[in-house]
Every structure is written in structure tokens, then in C-alpha cells.
Assembly symmetry: C2
Homo-oligomer: 317 residues x 2
């Protein structure tokens, strides 16, 4: 193994941008985080991404120009072949050639990848999927994304859109989703929507002030459920039901070796795990029950950046 090669990865989210520098073995040598937007530093720019990578490399005592490749994990829609983000409102970017601009800024080869796909690859290489060939990944964060690894290779589909499990319909004519469609998994099980639904339900009880309710976020409702609050438990139960239905669809369609659940909301996976498994089993063939593998992601915030870094590494060779 070549111990002298280093890679950087950046994961761009709606609220945070996370960077890592790693070696050939996928060891994270340094990592940093920044706000995607902030009053101090303004909206995200290519320059700010480059600065974050340079700062991360400096932390690892690696000159930035000695990085072998840089991977960027970002929300879609985007085009991997051209390295362009098509239109991501949360970044205020339209037709932004991220790959070429960042490569010019850093003087290093760059690859742009869909965040769900990048994280799927990270978990496949170094996380919950490191012993399997085929993996489906569902990333439950602010929104819900996903990715697919087949025979050790990321599968992107025609429009680099494959693995958008957050936007499969789990409730006909259901809740309006941010994507414009109705009844998507995301409309029920993303951090944003769990919070929204829980606030609505708690408001209806008349037991909480508006301020108290608005002060509660997804993690607060998770704590209430863990403390045994029946209302909070019923909300998380419904999240588990919907997630299980979506997983059943993934299993019936892809029959993967493992379904990995990541993203911030997956911290609560243990709370709803039995419901998720039961809901999944209710909608898959019985012969698949005994061998069903649904597991929490293992790389936390680093999955996307690490996956993108190693996709960039593969592209380079």
C-alpha cells in the first residue's frame, strides 16, 4: 500500500459543511466543520470550501498541493460526469461547475458526487457495509437521501438520481413534501418533518405553550420518547412504520445484502428498531425474513466526505 497518498473529502449539507483528510487506508487524519451559511462568513462559496480543505490539510500536517484528489459530496440534483450542481436552492447554486472551479482553486483533481451515493460508498468501504457487496443506504437528516452500491461499485442511474429513497411515495395523496410531490418518506421521517409533525400533535393537546412547543426540536421529541412519553412514542412509532415500509420496497426491489440507515435521525434508530423491522417484514417475502439486515451507519458525519474522497481516488487512477 502506498502510504504517501492523501485525500480530502467535503460533505456539503443544508446547515453544515464537513471536511476530512484521510490516508490510503481511509483513516481520518483531521476533520473540520463550518456553517454552510453564516452571518460572519456569508453564503457558501468555492473559495470557502477550498479554505476549509486547506485548513483541514494543515491540521493533518499535509501541504494542500500534495493531496492526490478531493471528493465533494453535495445535495442533488447534480451531474457527476460534468461535475456540476444543477439547482440546489439551499446552496443558492444553479448550474454551478463545482468540480472544475474547485480543481482550479486547489490545483488538485476533484470529483463531485451526490451526497447519498457518497455516504453509501463510505459506509460500504469502511462502515456498516464493509463486509458486503450490495448495499442500500438511507440517509435521514434535514431531508432524506440515499445511495446504492452494487458489486462494490456505486450505481448512479441515468440522471445520477438512483437511491432517492426519501422520495418514494409511502402514503398515497399524503403530506406535501419539499420536493413538490405528496406522501414521500421524507414528508414523514426527515428531521424537519418529524419536528413539524410532533409540534402539531403536541399543540393539539393544549398542554404546552406555543413557545414551549417551538423550542422543541427533533432531538427533544426523541428524549421525550425515550423517557416514555406516550405521545412522543406514537410519533416515533409512525416514523418507524413509514421507514419500514420504505425499506420493504428497497428490499423487494434490490434485495441488497444490507440496508444501512444514516443521518442525524438515525441516532434514534434503536428507539424504533423493532417497529422498523416489523413494518419491513410485513411487506417482504417470508423467505427474506431470517436474513434481513437493517443496520445503523457507523461513520456518522464522515460517511459522505470519506466516500467522496475515495470515489475521487478511484476516478484518479
Amino acid at each position: 500500500l502506498d502510504n504517501t497518498s492523501y485525500y480530502a473529502g467535503v460533505d456539503i449539507g443544508g446547515t453544515k459543511i464537513a471536511s476530512i483528510v484521510c490516508n490510503e487506508q481511509g483513516q481520518v487524519l483531521a476533520h473540520l466543520r463550518d456553517d454552510t451559511h453564516s452571518p460572519v462568513s456569508g453564503d457558501l462559496s468555492i473559495k470557502r470550501i477550498a479554505d476549509l480543505i486547506r485548513a483541514t490539510a494543515a491540521r493533518a500536517n499535509i501541504p494542500p498541493d500534495s493531496l492526490s484528489a478531493v471528493g465533494v459530496s453535495a445535495p442533488g440534483p447534480l451531474n457527476v460526469a460534468s461535475g456540476t450542481i444543477i439547482h440546489v436552492p439551499v446552496l443558492k447554486w444553479t448550474n454551478m461547475p463545482v468540480r472544475d472551479l474547485l480543481a482550479a482553486e486547489l490545483g488538485v483533481p476533484v470529483l463531485l458526487e451526490n451526497d447519498g451515493t457518497a455516504a453509501a460508498y463510505g459506509e460500504y468501504l469502511f462502515g456498516a457495509g464493509k463486509d458486503v457487496n450490495n448495499l442500500a443506504f438511507i440517509c435521514m437528516g434535514t431531508g432524506i437521501g440515499g445511495g446504492i452500491v452494487i458489486n462494490g461499485t456505486v450505481y448512479r442511474g441515468r440522471h445520477d438520481h438512483a437511491g432517492e429513497f426519501g422520495h418514494i411515495c409511502v402514503e398515497k395523496n399524503g403530506r406535501l413534501c419539499a420536493c413538490g410531490n405528496k406522501g414521500c418518506l421524507e414528508a414523514y421521517a426527515s428531521g424537519t418533518n418529524i419536528t413539524k409533525i410532533a409540534r402539531e400533535v403536541f399543540a393539539q393537546t393544549g398542554l404546552y405553550t406555543e413557545d414551549a412547543i417551538n423550542a422543541m426540536d427533533c432531538m427533544a421529541f426523541e428524549k421525550l420518547a425515550r423517557a416514555g412519553d406516550p405521545l412522543a412514542l406514537s410519533i416515533w412509532n409512525e416514523v418507524g412504520q413509514k421507514l419500514g415500509l420504505a425499506i420493504s420496497i428497497v428490499v423487494q426491489s434490490l434485495d441488497p445484502d444490507i440496508v444501512v440507515i444514516g443521518g442525524g435521525v438515525s441516532r434514534a434508530l434503536d428507539l424504533i428498531y423493532d417497529t422498523v423491522v416489523q413494518s419491513t417484514k410485513n411487506n417482504i417475502f417470508a423467505i427474506l425474513h431470517s436474513d434481513l439486515k437493517i443496520a445503523a451507519a457507523q461513520l456518522g458525519d464522515h460517511a459522505g466526505a470519506l466516500g467522496a474522497a475515495f470515489l475521487a481516488r478511484g476516478e484518479r487512477t
Copy 2:
């Protein structure tokens, strides 16, 4: 190209078994059909499959022992690696080593493949998908199966179960499906279930005798719809809605180049095509609308046998 090699394929269905003999170019040189079960010939046996292949080869003036390989397309669950049908009630077979028994009978290499996957590969090679790399296939017959081709290779999944799009849940707690689960696409859109639903709906009108209703099959209800009967049209409209929802899930998950619809029910695809497309578009990202490809299968009854023959050919080399 080697014009001296010939292949046979057999597609085992619940009611019919179809065989073909083809050359290296996928040209069908001869084909035959038999009943899966019949009062005269009894239940399906390996011997009867072998006889059908020999008869088909004879029609093509090819000595059976000069076939290079034989592919068998059969309902699952089955195991491709061991060539064994696990349990298919309609065939009255449990743990049946079809591949090895048939190979011994014919003295020719045999491959056993899931029928949906075999037909997907047939359509990919010679039918509606011959110009694409990634294809999702939905086979609407007595039941509903499916298959996936990715980068020109069939994708089977961990249990050779991938592509079971007929058994993704499209209606929570919906109609009971033959698989034992509720709300599967098959429970609404297979030939058997369209007939069952239509008979129920027509019976409720009180306008038809029980005999008249029981005499109507799926094709009869299709004819009524084509003649403009509003009740028949409403039934087919619901089939289109449900099929579109399932296709939307396939598109959001796999982002294939094309979704191909085959099987006997797909003869009615033109009747419901606009509904299918609209229902699909209602549940996929807007950026995918303009490029959406949903097409009828082109190989008819030969897709499974031809696909299996060419998978057997590939296995041999």
C-alpha cells in the same frame, strides 16, 4: 460471429410452458408451447421439459445434442447458483434441482433463472431495451414479476429476489396478495386480480347474471373498456394509477434508462398509458419528467425463454 452455435430457452409459467431455439444472433428458429399441467400429460416434469426442447430443436432441424446451452426461466423463489427451484406451489415443486436434472437428461449445460430477470435480459438484448444500459422490467401476467439489468448485466440481489416489483406495497393495509402480504401491486394489477376486482365491481351493479360475470376474463374487461364502458374504464384507470405509483418508486430508486412493461396484461398498456405516465410523474422529481421512458415489451411470449437462453450462453463462455 459463430453461426454454428444454437441455444434453447424454456419459460415455465403457471399455465403455459414455452420453448424456443435460437442462433447466436437471437433469431428464434423454432418455438413450441405446452400446458404446464394438463389432464393428458399430467403435472410438469423434467422429462416433459426435455421433450419440449427436443421437439423444438427438431422443428429447427437441429440435433438436440448439438445445442450449446439451455436456459430455463421459472417462477421463484429459486437459487441461480445451485440451479434449484426452492418452492413453487403452482409447479408442485420444492427444492427441485432443475438445472442438474435437465442437464443430465439433455447432456447439455443448463442455467436456471428467475422468470422476471430472464425476460428483463431478453428485452435488454433484443427488445424494448436494446439501446440502453440500465433497464427495469415489470412483467404483468397471472402474477407480477420483474427484473433488473444494470450496465448490461442482470442484477439478482442477495437471494436472487431483486426486481420483485409486483410485491412492493402500493396501498397500506390494502388487498390481500397471493404472497400473504397486503397492498402489493400484484393484488391490484395482475391479470388474475384485475379479473377478480372487475367481477366484484360488475356484480355490484346488479346488471349482470352471475354466469355472465364469471364468463368474463381480463381480456373481456379490456374489450369493454376499449368499447367505452365507463365501469370497465374506471377499473383500468385504477390499474394505471397503481402501476404508475409502482413505476415512480422504481424510477426514484433505480433511475433506469427505461421501464419496460411486459406480460399478458401489457397488451392493454396503450389503454392506460396516459394514466400510467401521469401517475408516475406525480411521484417523481420534475427533472425526470421530460426524459421518462415507459415502454411496452417487444418480445411477447419469447422474452423469458430468449433471455434465459442467452444467460445460459454467457454462463457457458
